[in-house]
């Protein structure tokens, strides 16, 4: 975090830094997170136990991963509404590969990732070749995939022993190595948390610290300016969608491995959570742009909030309302309260 503040475009806020209000706004989300942790810890001591904190991270990991997918697409200047559906597709693809086709762990994972990359490419074609606005194109893809994933299993969840549409029975099963992706620990830390943390660090380094990240941000910010500066903008925008699809597909794999079945409704709610994480991330350190660190913080923030409310026995059906409220509040913080610079 301290390294990000050295970022050139951040330090221009220096004069305002000195004011307490500016400082408060800059770290608002971190302060709120600390307040939440203290509050939940006080109300329910079990909340702050290591096992519970790890379980928060575990449940947050997929949202964070899909949040990264949204963020990468956003940085390249495109919204990707299809990531939830891509995760669901990947969940069904990997399950189908193992249970019906009898493939091993590695081929199943590769097949799922390939499906995700293919969807990213497809989105790129819709947006950059057919010139469909990004929101509409990826919304269309979302509906398309939502229907497509139901076809192979005739709308049923994929479990060992599933009766296929042609009457035969699927006799494959989930590979143990595959299930380990969602269930194993590394020094006590759930493997999905380790995977997502590593990917987030990599994505952060690439977007913030390399010239490729700068080109991607520039492409998303002003494509003409980026092209006139010699950037292969079309290639970058395609890559952003493909990476987005790949990350979302990995999210689907992790869900399949954790749950151990190809649940037809396994992808529901993923889009809301991940978009919320990415947009809340705009408020982190007053970035006001899609950024990896912000997305991770946003996902953790939502995870902590929901876990804490659950522990306090707040009904589960209020969760969406809470998420929506947090999202709007964060956006208000980003845009509404910080108009100072524009004039």
């Amino acid at each position: 975090m301290s390294t990000l503040t050295q970022n050139p475009s951040q330090t221009q806020h220096l004069p305002r830094w000195r004011s307490a209000v500016g400082l408060l706004r800059r770290y608002a989300l971190f302060i709120l997170l600390a307040v939440l942790l203290a509050f939940f810890g006080h109300a329910e001591p079990a909340f702050l136990q290591a096992s519970n904190l790890l379980s928060i991270l575990q449940s947050t990991s997929v949202d964070a991963l899909l949040g990264l997918a949204v963020t990468v697409a956003l940085i390249g200047g495109g919204f990707d509404l299809s990531i939830g559906a891509v995760a669901a597709l990947s969940l069904m693809t990997s399950s189908y590969a193992m249970v019906v086709l009898g493939l091993g762990a590695l081929p199943s994972v590769l097949l799922s990732l390939a499906a995700g990359a293919l969807v990213g490419l497809w989105n790129g074609v819709l947006v950059f070749r057919l010139r469909i606005p990004d929101m509409l194109a990826t919304l269309g893809t979302m509906f398309l995939l939502g229907g497509l994933q139901l076809i192979p299993s005739a709308g049923r969840s994929i479990v060992p022993g599933l009766t296929l549409p042609d009457g035969s029975v699927a006799n494959g099963s989930f590979d143990e190595a595959f299930l380990a992706i969602g269930r194993a620990d590394l020094f006590g830390v759930p493997l999905p948390v380790v995977i997502v943390a590593a990917l987030a660090l990599l994505a952060w380094l690439i977007t913030e610290r390399t010239r490729w990240g700068r080109v991607l941000y520039a492409t998303g910010g002003n494509e003409l300016a980026a092209r006139l500066a010699g950037a292969p903008t079309v290639r970058y925008r395609f890559i952003a969608y493909i990476v987005s699809g790949l990350l979302a597909a990995l999210g689907g794999v992790i869900i399949a491995a954790r749950v151990g079945r190809g649940d037809v409704s396994g992808g529901s709610g993923l889009l809301l959570n991940s978009v919320a994480a990415a947009l809340i991330g705009f408020a982190v350190l007053e970035a006001r742009r899609p950024n990896i660190l912000g997305t991770v913080v946003g996902a953790v923030f939502v995870g902590v909030l929901l876990n804490g409310l659950t522990m306090l026995n707040i009904p589960f059906y209020t969760q969406d309302l809470v998420k929506g409220a947090v999202l709007v509040a964060a956006l208000g913080l980003t845009y509404g309260l910080s108009r100072g610079r524009r004039s």
Binding site: R214, R227, L228
Partner: protein, 515 residues
């Protein structure tokens, strides 16, 4: 505020607008300091000043976009403190912005745009009959003798026509003061002449005009008086007949000087040689040679093909036919990336569209903007070293005299002239063979323009090709001048200077008008 002010003198009493001791501070910068000026009905007052002198701030206060920090405004003798553009407009202060896209609603027709004010404030019935709409629009158009198809979409109008529509609308809304901010920036000389006629009509109707421009020719033509701002203060007032050189001197604080035009050094091998380049089907082929150390300017009307030529040489537009050599080797760029790799750089027109990034984006600060096209060369392994880009930016800031707090500033914090210096610095920060500059003096004041010209003419090893619609700018910067007309080039005899260029332009326009 309550301090006793002396009774206004006779000239002030008949003033339509009085600005009294206005001050405005942004953080550590005192943008306006005790600025006072008076505008009388039917008078055109030129507001002059270098970038950052406080012109835009004053205009924004008058137009209700910002509020004054201290001092007061009187409109028709009554205190006036607009808190929004709407209030300013209702009081009769109309500002026509330099950005042409803000002049109207593109989706509506000319007639609807002319009646925009009435459509919005409910003075027209909800259900409009086409006949009534057109009749009322025709009345508005008649105020300035506007002769446009009222049914045409606003989208199809030229920038000049849009400005005229905005002006007609201003008149129909009982304007008392019209503020024109760089109105001729994107107009050809013929279109500008038309605009000046309209301004004369405004004056004849008793409307006061506050005119902001960097173009001395404009000011000479229309201004009755000039008020010069420097560093947020009034540096001088000049009454008609305007002594423009004194005004310019007050503005920049020293005598302007034309660069010494060098006799071009024609070495054996030109940097760029172009043969029979056709920009558009039917256009006469273009042949052109540019030599090391040479600065060549192309002038001509909007739409003559200046940008097209530059973009074709840069690989942003498709190369139709014709051949070219760069340093003796065949040259036919396929993409901007291709050109940049070979040392052919282009700084596009309209810096916010072609060069800068939205200020929130990573890489939007001037240090990053300067290095952005060269990142591949500077950091071949991909890993950025901010200290290195900051060093490059610091060098550029020093060399061009960019007024900024440092490489971390975003360009929106800079004045127009300093923004343009950033654009030039970007392309001059690395070695190049040919630099293509499209309208490099847009919204740049005289002082900054001289800094830019010095920096452009400083390069002895490479060639520079500049497109500008302003003949004065072309004369100031270039060793040789071409006039572009209908996508072809006409070389102007350099020894006859400005008169020859103007004569060529005028001859072309009259033949065009006759056709």
């Amino acid at each position: 505020m309550s301090s006793p002010t002396p009774l206004p003198d006779a000239t002030a009493r008949d003033a339509v607008l009085q600005v009294r001791h206005i001050g405005k501070r942004f953080g550590a910068t005192q943008a306006l300091d005790q600025v006072s000026l008076t505008v009388r009905p039917g008078e055109a007052v030129a507001l002059m000043g270098a970038n950052g002198a406080g012109k835009s701030t004053l205009v924004k206060i008058l137009a209700g976009v910002q509020t004054a920090g201290s001092g007061e405004l009187l409109l028709g003798g009554l205190p006036f403190a607009p808190r929004s553009p709407r209030e300013a407009l209702a009081a009769g202060i109309v500002s026509v912005h330099q950005a042409t896209e803000q002049l109207g609603v593109p989706a509506l027709t000319v007639a609807e745009n002319l009646l925009l004010g009435r459509l919005c404030n409910g003075h027209l019935p909800v259900l409009l009959r086409r006949g009534r709409l057109l009749r009322e629009a025709a009345e508005v158009a008649a105020y300035i003798g506007l002769n446009l198809p009222l049914d045409a979409p606003f989208d199809d109008l030229t920038p000049a026509q849009r400005q005229l529509v905005a002006l007609a609308r201003a008149l129909s809304e009982a304007a008392r003061v019209v503020i024109l901010d760089e109105p001729t920036a994107s107009l050809s000389s013929r279109e500008a002449t038309r605009l000046f006629e309209v301004i004369d009509q405004l004056k004849a109707r008793g409307v006061a005009v506050l005119y902001i421009s960097h173009r001395l020719g404009d000011l000479r033509r229309i201004a009755d008086r000039a008020v010069v701002l420097r560093n947020g203060r009034v540096a001088g007032e000049f009454a008609a007949p305007l002594d423009l050189s004194a005004a310019v001197q007050a503005m920049i604080g020293h005598e302007p000087s034309l660069p010494v035009r060098r006799e071009t050094i024609r070495t054996a091998q030109p940097v760029l040689a172009v043969q029979d380049l056709v920009l558009r089907p039917g256009a006469r082929p273009i042949s052109l040679s540019l030599h090391p150390g040479e600065v060549v300017a192309i002038t001509g009307n909007l739409g003559a093909g200046k940008s097209r030529l530059l973009q074709t040489l840069f690989g942003e537009q498709t190369w139709r036919s014709g051949t070219a050599q760069l340093d003796g080797q065949a040259w036919r760029p396929r993409s901007p990336a291709d050109s940049i790799a070979r040392g052919v750089f282009l700084a596009g027109e309209d810096r916010w569209r072609s060069s800068f990034l939205p200020v929130e984006t990573l890489g939007a600060c001037i240090g990053d903007l300067i290095s952005f096209p060269h990142l591949g060369r500077l950091f071949p392994h991909g890993w950025l070293r901010p200290a290195h880009t900051d060093r490059i930016a610091a060098t550029a800031i020093g060399r061009l005299g960019i007024r900024t707090q440092g490489p971390d500033d975003t360009p929106d914090l800079l004045s127009g002239g300093n923004q343009q210096k950033v654009v030039l610095a970007r392309w001059q920060s690395q070695p190049y063979r040919l630099l293509l500059l499209d309208e490099p003096f847009q919204g740049v004041d005289v002082g900054a323009r001289h800094d830019l010209i010095d920096a452009i003419r400083d390069r002895q090893d490479a060639a520079t090709l500049i497109a500008t619609s302003d003949v004065e700018e072309a004369l100031e910067v270039a060793d040789r001048i071409f006039v572009m007309h209908q996508h072809s080039l006409i070389e102007v005899d350099n020894h006859q200077g400005g008169a020859a260029v103007l004569a060529t332009l005028q001859a072309l326009e009259t033949t065009e008008a006759a056709a």
